[in-house]
């Protein structure tokens, strides 16, 4: 990455007004002594553009470092106000520290500034951090809440932040179980302004859904779709079954729109480590029997096969690109509104 990367100032505060003042200072590139920096002169001529508020919630210093790296990479394409909440719900005395900084980058002549506030809370305040978040957001811009790891759903912080957010971004691969998926759906369906949900795990399923859909684009195959008997999703032994459930939920939800109830079977494949490893769609009817299968192959590939009436043919193989958290988040940040397909799949997976 070209360009400069400057940290304008870093200080510690506990008072929300002081944080606001400091944010305003770094936003406009004012120096501490009230003098105007070069950045300020620039800002004066240009006005400042921002596209979103991003809130990231982490539970440990280690996670903080990882998340900071991801956010650094995103700041160029998403000039934003970023709040990182390090919420340590421990029994220690209530304590709150804040650090304000600005990252300024110059990318082919354009200057992009991202202000960042790190709020570090211990004890009781950690549960009430949302009361500090609201005043620090830029009005009028979407609020994206990124929660790496499995959220602590029962802590008031989760609900309070979801109230503020327009979009909640999670990775259900981080050990989400059925009740957790249920909570996600509740957030999306909340009566007053439910937040939309972004799920990295759902994004990882895109190639699987693509291949599955392509089966029925082949000449003569569509009839089998209307005769689906059931599907089986095989998953590895580690981690959560959320990905498998979502894939099953997806096909189930889609078929429901045609008035069909499709049984979904989740099966453990001991030989595989993580995530979905095989996806089978069975169909039988007056047009014969068919089995559509997609399998995860060594070396990060997906292969698709079709068997119609005892006749096999390999359809195709595609590379399964591993996307980084940074890429996945970047996609989530530009998606507007509710992903209705995801919500449909989530709801169907819980039926």
């Amino acid at each position: 990455m070209s360009g400069e990367h400057g940290e304008l100032s870093t200080r510690t505060f506990v008072d929300v007004h002081a944080i606001q003042d400091e944010l305003e200072q770094v936003r406009w590139g004012l120096h501490e002594n009230g003098e105007f920096s070069e950045a300020a002169e620039h800002a004066a001529a240009e006005a400042r553009a921002s596209v979103l508020n991003l809130i990231a919630v982490v539970g440990s210093e280690r996670q903080l470092t990882e998340v900071s790296h991801v956010l650094d990479a995103l700041s160029v394409t998403n000039p934003s106000r970023t709040l990182i909440l390090l919420a340590q719900h421990d029994r220690s005395a209530a304590k709150l520290e804040a650090e304000v900084s600005a990252q300024t980058r110059t990318e082919s002549g354009h200057r992009v500034t991202t202000e960042r506030v790190l709020l570090h809370a211990h004890g009781e305040v950690a549960a009430h951090l949302a009361s500090l978040v609201d005043p620090l957001l830029i009005p009028d811009l979407p609020v994206v809440l990124w929660w790496p790891g499995r959220p602590d759903f029962d802590n008031p912080l989760f609900d309070d932040l979801c109230q503020l957010a327009d979009r909640l971004v999670v990775d259900t691969d981080e050990g989400f179980e059925t009740p957790d998926l249920q909570r996600l759906l509740e957030v999306a369906r909340r009566e007053h302004a439910g937040a939309s949900i972004g799920d990295f795990n759902w994004a990882r399923l895109i190639p699987w859904r693509h291949l599955a859909a392509q089966f029925f684009d082949m000449p003569g195959m569509l009839v089998h779709l209307a005769q689906i008997q059931g599907v089986a999703v095989y998953h590895g032994r580690d981690g959560s079954t959320a990905q498998a459930r979502l894939l099953g939920g997806w096909i189930r939800g889609r078929m429901t729109t045609l008035g069909m109830e499709v049984p979904v079977e989740l099966r453990l494949d001991d030989a595989h480590e993580h995530g979905v490893c095989r996806f089978l769609i069975y169909s039988r009817g007056q047009d014969g029997q068919a089995r559509f299968s997609i399998s995860h192959q060594p070396g990060g590939r997906l292969s698709a096969e079709v068997r119609v009436d005892e006749q096999d043919f390999v359809d195709r193989t595609v590379r399964l690109a591993r996307r980084s958290a940074e890429e996945l988040l970047a996609i989530e940040l530009t998606l507007p509104g509710h992903d209705l397909l995801f919500e449909e799949a989530l709801a169907a997976s819980l039926r």
Binding site: V16, H17, E41, A44, R48, A49, P139
Partner: protein, 513 residues
């Protein structure tokens, strides 16, 4: 040889073409309530900063009046301390402060003490003699409102209000009355001694740069005025949100409430400025005529339907746990005083027919913010098929007054890439940095305007009375039906649910300011 001019000069012809601000005439400012909080926090720092920027005339003098026993030296020391603590510019320039302090004196007296006014008159005459202030006076009432009538009356009776030549002006702090009746009575008491032209009623919101900028924005930029009407504006939201509670003002607040404390003055002022027609010129009375017209065209309010009140309970604000209103000092545990008001108003004129104005103010809201937000209608036709346009919110123009003055415009922009995808971008303008000058405090502007004899940014009699009329209507309806559900919002939330319902009914939502 030049011919002497025979008629007396009425204009300084040398001033023509000079854009430097006028310097006021030498004058004495008499501060009633000189040992109080307002004087220390706002007035003295404002005077010092005016001096620092060379806006004060030489000979400008201040006489502080209060009842605490203080020597002149002690008084000066207190004021020096106040300026050191509260001046917006730091550190304090010693020589400049000294020049202010040289013209500072202190008269101790109770406000109703006839003898005291004799001593005050003598002190004023001394100033005229020694400092050339020529009988020019500003009487600044920086004290509790119950003293306003007695001070006016004594100023009249003692002859101070009219003595000698020179102009006399009175500055009156808020609250100006408690309802329409008391405001009228106060106006009457004042007019027994001073004419309306001599009266300067403070609403410090009007002294804010942004408020003045709203006028400039609207009337000096050709591009906004044509869309500033019902055809293009969907609705307007005006917010004065405070995150603080009532601090130590429980006793006052119990008798005031949010309606009197903020709605009747600041909110209605902001409404007038946002909604007014272009004045023919920027004369004080022309501008104020237009503002009054707005208040006069407010459609009669159905209080039960269009006004919501609230009171905060305990909660969390800014990472801190705070008590509810009823647990505050000097507040009744069963108080029905409102700490929140929201109203939906309509203005019956061609420009705004059918365009709702939503006003709200409250204490212990999640953040402090005062702003006027103009919500424009959706673009009539969106040619960008399949771009999830429904999720793009319409354009909003926001004029922010507090805490950081500025303006922002929300627009839609394309995300770079081969696919047509749009996203919301906020363009932020910050007055401070556009001009690389720090904004003066509202009090500096207002004090200077008063010294210059420009009442544009002060509330006029009819304005104040109109605003009270409106507040009275609301108060009366509330009085008949005391709130039964208080507290109805938790500290740290955006007010009672009924306030959300007020907008939802119209298919709209409050902004997060």
């Amino acid at each position: 040889m030049a011919q002497a001019v025979t008629t007396p000069l009425t204009q300084n012809v040398l001033r023509e073409g000079l854009i430097l601000p006028r310097t006021p005439d030498p004058a004495v400012m008499v501060i009633f309530g000189a040992s109080g909080d307002l004087t220390a926090r706002k007035l003295m720092p404002a005077l010092y900063n005016l001096a620092l920027n060379r806006y004060l005339p030489s000979g400008f003098s201040v006489i502080g009046v209060a009842d605490t026993a203080l020597s002149e030296a002690e008084y000066k020391a207190n004021m020096a301390e106040a300026v050191r603590k509260f001046s917006r510019t730091q550190p304090v320039d010693h020589a400049v402060w000294q020049s202010v302090a040289d013209g500072l004196s202190y008269v101790r007296m109770p406000f109703d003490d006839a003898d005291g006014y004799g001593r005050l008159a003598a002190e004023l005459e001394r100033m005229d003699r020694e400092r050339g202030t020529n009988g020019n006076r500003v009487f600044y009432f920086a004290t509790a409102p119950q003293f306003f009538p007695v001070i006016v009356e004594r100023l009249g009776a003692s002859g101070i209000a009219r003595a000698g030549q020179g102009w006399k002006r009175v500055v009156i702090e808020k609250p100006f009355g408690h309802d329409l009746k008391s405001a009228q009575a106060l106006n009457q008491a004042i007019h027994a001694v001073f004419t309306e032209q001599q009266v300067y009623r403070i609403d410090h919101y009007l002294g804010k740069e942004t408020v003045q900028n709203v006028l400039v924005f609207r009337f000096a930029n050709g591009i906004f005025e044509p869309i500033w009407n019902r055809r293009y504006v969907d609705h307007i939201q005006i917010t004065v949100a405070e995150d603080i509670g009532i601090e130590r003002r429980g006793k006052y607040y119990e008798t005031a409430g949010a309606l009197r404390d903020i709605f009747q003055n600041h909110l209605l002022q902001l409404l007038s400025i946002a909604a007014m027609e272009a004045p023919a010129n920027f004369d004080a009375d022309t501008v104020r005529d237009e503002k009054v017209k707005v208040l006069k065209s407010i459609h009669p309010i159905e209080v039960a339907k269009d006004v919501i009140r609230g009171q905060y309970g305990p909660g969390w604000v800014g990472g801190q746990q705070v008590p509810g209103y009823r647990q505050e000092q000097n507040v009744s545990p069963a108080s029905t005083t409102e700490t929140y008001v929201a109203a939906r108003l309509r203005i019956d004129n061609w420009r705004w027919a059918e365009t709702p104005f939503y006003l709200r103010t409250g204490k212990r809201l999640p953040s402090r913010a005062s702003e006027i937000a103009i919500q424009f209608k959706n673009a009539p036709h969106l040619p960008f098929a399949r771009t999830a346009i429904q999720d793009l919110a319409p354009n909003v123009l926001v004029m922010r007054i507090q805490p950081h003055e500025g303006a922002s415009l929300k627009i839609a922009a394309k995300i770079p890439g081969p696919v047509m995808r749009l996203r919301t971008v906020n363009m932020d303008f910050f007055y401070g940095s556009s001009f690389l000058i720090e904004s003066p405090d509202a009090y500096e502007r207002l004090v200077l305007d008063c010294l210059l004899g420009d009442p544009t940014l002060f509330a006029r009699e009819d304005e104040v009375e109109r605003a009270w009329g409106l507040a009275d209507t609301i108060e009366k309806s509330w009085g008949m039906q005391p709130a039964a559900d208080f507290p109805n919002y938790a500290a740290g939330t955006w007010g009672p649910e009924a306030a959300d319902a007020l907008l939802e009914r119209d298919g709209r939502r409050w902004r997060r300011p």
